[in-house]
């Protein structure tokens, strides 16, 4: 009787790739070569909530944008809105529109980045294509240099809008409590209008391309629908007063795995609904629905695990606020069998629908005559205390919460960052995909990439889950060593003379 081989082993994917941030996946096979357990680990932590303490609140939009250089605008905007709350100040209408215009340009280009550079290659080039081809260069080889240049050119133009309005596309500077730093001139408005038109066409083009290359490929559609990549969880997203998707402002709505409204809450109430759970095997904390308590990495309406970002936002809202996106939204649900859609890989499609909405919204705001108004600041008059700002980052609901002293110096900062809302579901998705794809010990590089596709669909962001100077003022400088003892004293007196002791 031949002995059956013991196929027990451990497979490490390190680092995971085509996302923002760091991560590794550890897969443990049992003696039969099936997956016993898979861990999705985030190996980084930087401590922003800690070193925010002592910083002036008005610096937070620029400090917290360094949580992430791919989505700095999301942090910048959540932070700026928290400052509005902190100082109880309302920006003038033009400032609010400028912020949302900036934000719409950002979501369009950031979603395009994911579709074509980060997640897209898995579908456009193929999940098991050679590693050297599974990237944006492989995409360009497949769709052609002209299309490649169109994608790159579109992102460039959108980011030029961002630079013009916000100083920089990476780490913008426009956010102030009660307004924005700079107004938009009529000639800038003309340029933005032109780019916005192109962006809408680009959104439609992206939807067509996705349809052609992904949705008409039955193998891919079967993969999207497969059980290995499906979870039935709660879904969370920001909506406007009509319950339509909005990235900039509105209440946060949560629906059950059956698609019924569970809760709808204003930003300030987030602590009643969202809590964070700690595991010893990852630095990222796992957000869950507080009223239900932590039930573990499980799904269904008894579990408190929920999901954010495109898949979730389309499930949570009752439609899109612009015409082309609304049509795409209807086609999406018709094709996938109604609401809610639980297929994680459908995130890629939902993202394209959102890209189209963001572009249409950009165009609406660019054409608004109020966008060039010079009233862009309301100066705060009240003493600061506490503020919460919420936006929809491209990768999910993002919350900034600050408490300050009466001088506006941060005493405490709490941030629930988009991908944290997905962290539990991502961990589950990776394990489920690994279990579904690996058997009898058969592991290939292509299969491991398909395990990575389980996280990549969420577009996670782990950086988000770490002079001639004429004065003659007298000056005293004391240099202390690490023990605190004074090593040297330098003194500059009224007459400019310098003495050292």
């Amino acid at each position: 009787m031949p002995e059956t081989k013991d196929l027990r082993r451990r497979i490490t994917i390190d680092p995971i790739t085509r996302l923002e941030g760091h991560g590794k996946i550890e897969v443990f096979l049992n003696e039969h070569g099936s997956v016993e357990r898979a861990f999705f680990q985030v190996p980084e932590l930087r401590g922003f909530e800690k070193f925010a303490q002592g910083r002036p609140a008005e610096e937070m939009p620029q400090i917290t944008s360094r949580i992430c250089g791919v989505c700095p605008t999301a942090h910048h905007m959540a932070s700026t809105k928290a400052l509005d709350g902190l100082y109880r100040v309302t920006p003038p209408p033009a400032a609010r529109k400028i912020r949302e215009l900036f934000y719409s340009a950002f979501v369009t280009e950031d979603h395009a980045l994911h579709v074509y550079f980060l997640g897209g290659p898995d579908f456009i080039v193929g999940p098991k294509a050679p590693a050297a081809e599974r990237n944006v260069l492989g995409v360009i080889a497949k769709v052609g240099v002209e299309v490649g240049q169109k994608v790159i050119g579109m992102r460039r133009k959108l980011r030029e809008i961002m630079t013009a309005i916000g100083g920089k596309a990476v780490h913008p500077v426009l956010g102030l409590p009660g307004g924005v730093a700079k107004h938009i001139t009529p000639s800038e408005q003309e340029k933005i209008k032109q780019i916005a038109k192109e962006a809408v066409d680009f959104g439609s083009f992206t939807l067509e391309t996705f349809n052609k290359l992904v949705l008409q490929n039955t193998e891919y559609v079967d993969l999207i629908r497969s059980d290995a990549f499906t979870h039935r969880t709660y879904y969370m997203g920001m909506v406007d007063e009509a319950n339509l998707v909005n990235f900039y402002d509105g209440p946060v709505r949560v629906v059950t795995p059956e698609g019924k409204e569970w809760k709808k809450f204003a930003a300030e109430k987030y602590l009643d609904y969202i809590a964070e759970h700690v595991e010893p095997w990852s630095y990222v904390k796992f957000a869950y629905l507080k009223p239900l308590g932590w039930k573990g990495f499980t799904e269904g309406s008894e579990s408190s695990v929920y999901c954010v970002a495109p898949l979730a936002r389309l499930n949570t809202a009752q439609g899109m606020a612009t015409p082309l996106a609304q049509e795409a939204y209807q086609q999406y649900f018709a094709a996938l069998g109604g609401k809610p859609v639980h297929h994680t890989l459908a995130n890629h499609w939902a993202r394209v629908v959102e890209l189209l909405y963001a572009a249409e919204r950009l165009k609406e705001l660019a054409e608004d005559p109020e966008i060039t108004d010079s009233q862009i600041r309301t100066l705060p008059t009240e003493a600061p205390r506490e503020g919460v700002g919420v936006v929809e980052a491209p990768r999910g609901t993002l919350i900034h919460h600050y408490q300050t002293d009466e001088k506006g110096i941060i005493q405490k900062a709490n941030m629930i960052v988009a991908t944290q809302n997905n962290a539990a579901r991502i961990a589950m998705s990776v394990e489920k995909a690994a279990k579904g794809l690996i058997s009898d010990g058969n592991v290939s590089e292509g299969i491991l990439n398909m395990v990575e596709m389980a996280f990549r669909a969420y577009d996670p962001c782990h950086g988000c889950a770490t002079h001639s100077l004429p004065g003659s003022m007298p000056l005293l400088v004391r240099v202390h060593d690490h023990r605190g003892d004074v090593q040297a004293t330098l003194r500059r007196d009224w007459d400019g003379s310098i003495r050292r002791s």
Binding site: P56, I63, F117, V173
Partner: protein
């Protein structure tokens, strides 16, 4: 018998990118080369770039030492894994470039040096108002369950710049560096004449000289108070300091083309010092304090108080690389 495959006459130079305690903004700068990215990928062979390509750590380990022409590493060194990767890439690359403020100076993650590892862990996993953790679970560097064990990198007590860990050949400053500076740097590094080791690949003069507002800066600029940006309707053309807003242009290296002033906000110093300055924060502090318009100690004290967070203002990007390095930790202090 088949002929061995012909080796290309001039194989493309190998280039690698990596991120330590980073936000990914420096990666975005590479992508902000836009259409020129296509020229870059034609000229070089990118062998490692986790944000965009699927090569793994074992691919890098398998490369011969010194076979990578240039490795661009951004981010500060915060964890044991980042320190290992810095050493690995130093070994595999002929030239190591510190890309961005974090790699050059420690960057904004360096503000964690005002606290401690314990302080950060307590803040994240215990003190956060939304975190429910009654059993005080903390991430472990080694975790065992059912006979399986997984590891996480450890956090160092102190955040370091790249050159505090490995030998660095060149620096590209900025948070992030501009695509233009990156483009120029790539050409220099692919060229035949390399600059002296240690060169910062950006102009060596202060930002004021490059700022579009410089003509509005008074000959003699002195102030009776500093204003916080939310309290001023900042004029879109006048020198920031002349308006009373703290701007670190006088102390900061140029090369960014004054992007923040063009956004109508002051410079916060992300390009770091010019070559003539050892401690950026001290230079910035001296630049700002030297324009205080008073000889009366009590009045001076009042004016100084109008800059509410000196360490966060002057050392925002450069604390790890400064002479201060970090806040002193008393024994068993919980900061």
């Amino acid at each position: 018998m088949t002929e061995p495959a012909a080796v290309p006459k001039n194989p493309k130079p190998k280039v690698a990118f990596y991120w330590c305690a980073s936000c990914g903004g420096c990666e975005e700068t590479v992508l902000d080369l836009d259409e020129r990215v296509l020229d870059v990928v034609v000229a070089v062979n990118i062998v490692f770039w986790p944000v965009a390509l699927d090569f793994k750590r074992h691919h890098v380990e398998a490369l011969p030492d010194g076979s990578v022409l240039a490795a661009f590493v951004n981010g500060a060194v915060r964890t044991t894994e980042q320190e290992e990767m810095a050493h690995l890439l130093r070994k595999k690359a002929k030239v190591l470039v510190a890309l961005g403020s974090c790699a050059q100076l420690g960057g904004i993650p360096g503000l964690a040096n005002l606290s401690s590892r314990e302080g950060i862990l307590q803040s994240s996993y215990c003190e956060s108002p939304s975190t429910v953790n009654p059993e005080k679970v903390f991430p472990q560097t080694l975790y065992k369950e059912n006979g399986q064990s997984v590891s996480l990198p450890g956090l160092f007590e102190t955040v370091r710049s790249l050159d505090q860990v490995v030998d660095v050949d060149y620096y590209l400053p900025g948070c992030p560096p501009t695509p233009k500076l990156l483009w120029d740097a790539v050409h220099v590094l692919l060229g035949s004449e390399l600059p002296p080791k240690g060169t910062v690949l950006a102009p060596d003069r202060a930002l004021c000289e490059e700022c579009p507002r410089k003509d509005t800066r008074p000959e003699k600029l002195t102030l009776k108070e500093f204003k916080r940006p939310q309290d001023v309707l900042i004029d879109e053309e006048t020198c920031m300091l002349a308006q009373g807003v703290v701007c670190l242009g006088p102390a900061t290296r140029s090369g960014c083309e004054a992007l923040c002033p063009q956004g109508n906000m002051p410079c916060t110093g992300c390009f770091g010092p010019t070559s003539r300055v050892r401690d950026y924060g001290a230079k910035a502090l001296s630049a700002i304090s030297s324009i205080i318009d008073s000889n009366d100690p009590e009045e001076i004290e009042k004016i100084v108080q109008t800059v509410p967070d000196p360490v966060g203002t002057f050392y925002r990007y450069s604390l790890p690389s400064s002479l201060l390095r970090r806040r002193k930790l008393a024994p068993a202090a919980k900061l």
